[in-house]
Amino acid sequence: MKDLFSSRSFVIKVVFVVIGVLFFLRLFFLQVLSSEFAQQANNNAIKQRRVEPARGLIYDRNGKILVYNAPIYDVFVNPSQAKNKEIDTTKFCELLSISREQFIKYYRKAKIEFPNKQSIFLSQVSIEDYSKFQEYLNQFTGYSGIVRTMRQYPYNSAPNLFGYIGEVSERQIEASEGYYQPGDYAGKFGLELKYDESLRGTIGISYYYVDKLGREQGTYENGEYDQKPIAGKNLISTIDIELQQYGEKLMQNKRGSIVAIEPKTGEILCLVSSPSFDPNLLTGRKRGDNYMKLLNDPQKPLIDRPLTATYPPGSTFKVFNALVSLSDGSITADYGWTCGGGYHLGGGKIVRCSHPHPSASNLMDGLKYSCNPYFCGTFKASVENAIYSSTEVGYQHWRNIMLAMSVGQKTGVDLAGEKSGNVPTPEYYNKIYGKGQWHANTIISLSIGQGEILMTPLQMANGYALIANRGYYYTPHLIKKIEGDSTNTLKLTYALHKTGIAYALYDAVCEGLRRVVESGTAHSCAIPSIQMCGKTGTAQNPHGENHSLFAGYAPFENPKIAIAVIVENGGYGATYAAPIVSLMVEKYINDTIETSRQKVEKRMFEADLLNTGNYGKKQEIIK
């Protein structure tokens, strides 16, 4: 009996020890031999969050802030904690200025997508709305706010320049090579798009703990492994914001563009596209609505006219034409023309002058009187010059020099969407008239900037910068410096372009342009204290009233500004474009408008083409 019991007691002890050893082995396997569990535990509890860096700011040439970041709030909801039945929804909606239907819609969306997690309820609540909302936040269990930033434009100006930011597109995500994720904001247009990589900075990562329900439970290791976001770099632009605003004011109630360039550097001083709008409309929660309104506006404010609208340059083109003829020796500055009955094309057709004037005995007077037959003559002299084996070769040469002067050629400005304009190729004419079947007279309207020839306002300003420089231009640009921290500030350099036309040949052209303002077609716009040079233009417009053009530079000696103005359907160049140019020049150089000229300024401010019928029915003027 005793043996039986002690052997049974032994069996029991053995069972205990066996179980103990079994557990020991299992624990040894789990805790010592296996290594995957630590990772699995971390996957559970440690999450990472991207920390958006502050986007870079944009300054004007004088250090004024043009674009900065203002706080804006996103309201989040955690449906597992929200007690919608208990909260005062009427007050809630009122504070956030949303409707009851929106409240229900947003809440449902959050609840379906992330029932147990915090997710976005309402994005981009203004700081005014949010500060009111925040006072009552403790009554709205489950709701919280997170501060983000929104672009702000203190000058309410130059929307075409800055562009805007918005949610990234699929293409941008792909192109960013892992930087962007859906829902991020990126530059969509203008400088915001072009310099996005500099402006966006570097995303940071912060690690934090979550519990089983995904609720945040504090930072991981006090942020030791976090990667701090690096703020975006600031852009120092070439824009003079005061000049830009002045230009926008002059262009109010008109359609058109102003482009001003500092000739010596290619720095763009202003880039006015009219009608304009407040760039702040395209930020914040109302962006979508505002965007649709602007898109459907018949005056097309979203079009960036200085870069994308192309016009026949009209008489402003005559200088380029003359320069080609001078450069290949087809004419000299003393080339004269008797403007009796106009320029005879044969078959009874005549290119006439728009106004009677004394005959031009040299190039300077030709420009001063803006004599059409004169420039038909120089064109014919050049294109059909005996040094070329055929008209086609002569024209090809003429066209090449045009392209070198950035006529009909993209300037390469640092903004997307620039149009190239047009100088037709010889092949184009071969196709229309047949090879060898066309002559200078066939395409004579090119000589006075009509016909197929098209230029953007930027090209016109750039062309006059080239004339101001007498033979070269720098790629026009808007950003001169990308300012990071002290080590990685980047001063941008832009290409120098030379036309190959001898410096001395510009003398006559410049003198001619000076005489235009002094005593020629734009004499009414002369600025007493500044010697301005320029050329009026009246571009024929088959769809309606002619476009009013003026391009020029100032001062005559040591030019500081080259500028082109187009007022669509403005009529003669001297009517609107020339006075606007003179005011811009005076403003830029003297900083004030002389008393004697303030009546001109007033007239320009008040001129209203939008509402006086000039823009009546025909809207398709922009090519």
Partner: protein, 448 residues
Amino acid sequence: MERNRKLLNEFDWVILAIYGTLLLFGCLSVYAASFREVEASSFSQVLDVNTSFGKQMMWVAVCIVMVTFILLVDSKFFTSLAYLSYIVSIILLVAVLLVGKEIHGNKSWFGIGSFGIQPAEFAKFCTALALAKFLSNQSIDLKNMKNMLTAFAIIGLPAALVLLQPDLGSMLVFCSFVIVLYREGLNPLYVIIPLLLLLFSVIALKFGALVLSIIALISLSLLIYFNLKKSLKTIIFIAFVHCFVIGYGYSVDFIYHKVMKDYQRARIDYTLRISTKQAINKPVIKEDVVQKIVPGEKKHRKFDDWNIRQSIIAIGSGGILGKGFLKGTQTKFEFVPEQTTDFIFCTIGEEEGFWGTTLVVSLYIGLLLRLVWMADRQRSKFSRIYGYSVAFILFFHFLINVGMTIGLVPVIGIPLPFISYGGSSLLAFTFLLMIMVKLDADRLHVLR
């Protein structure tokens, strides 16, 4: 003075030391498991009786008073109260089914204010006392059918009552008394046959009923061929046994597929490493809803294989040295379910690592061996039987609780003695163990 020292020397200090150590481990683990960094608990909050830890500390204090009381009282007090306490606990088990508070579908609690009392925990040591009292009677012999049935009835009654709650874990603990009977001379078949059936079930579930019947056929044929007299009677008996095994195998299969609920199947699948169609890498499942913390103590039985995986991740991620006290992310951020009660072992595994778990397992095995050794040295049959009961109750809790957290046993909600949070279980286990310590201390004064 002399007498007091003698009295102190008579207590088994090994058991008292192990008890104290486990209790300390328990307090630290409950503190760690209920600790939330975000709430930044100050010391006054820690001792607040509305927090889990505060409550547990209060219960520890009660336990220390009880230990003192039990060790000072004459052990005859317990032998004389054996039947009475058993009857009271049976009445309470019936009462809890009628008026108990239902928590997570279980009627196992009496709610008193913010506290709860679980009669099943107390019924365990009351049954041990009653069984010891009954078997210690000189005239009782377990070979006698009537005596044996009475013994089974003493065990079966509370086992059936807890099963009605339903509390499967406690029911299994009551079954552990069968092994006590085995120690007292019960035919070993009563232990061997259930174990064989368990083995058959495992084979049937893991490899299918067909495999089970083939294995049975081969082994029984070999048995006939080599060993036994090849009489017709034996062959018929063997054939009958074979038929039974086949029938059993298919019944298990049927119960598994048609009777059990999904979550029960999931637990068995996990334990037996059966890969099912329901995807092995199930994401965080919807069923896994927030468990509301019920005033008082909390307990629910809604586990599934996501929970057990979290438990293993917690223990496995502890490594050799552990993540450090209060540094366990699996427990602190509630990825492990029921971490203060049924899954308290995870907190130890994650924060103290392999050395911590090994220490706890060693302490338990040491305690169990010491209890068996202690039971065997008793002169009184009562003390011996009670000692074995204590050992097996603790053993079953240890086996099921630790076994489930490390994925060796299906998930069955049952506390880890002296460590899990919960006043009823802590108090009941303290009674259970200390009565044995007292009986042992008095063994020399007791007549055979």
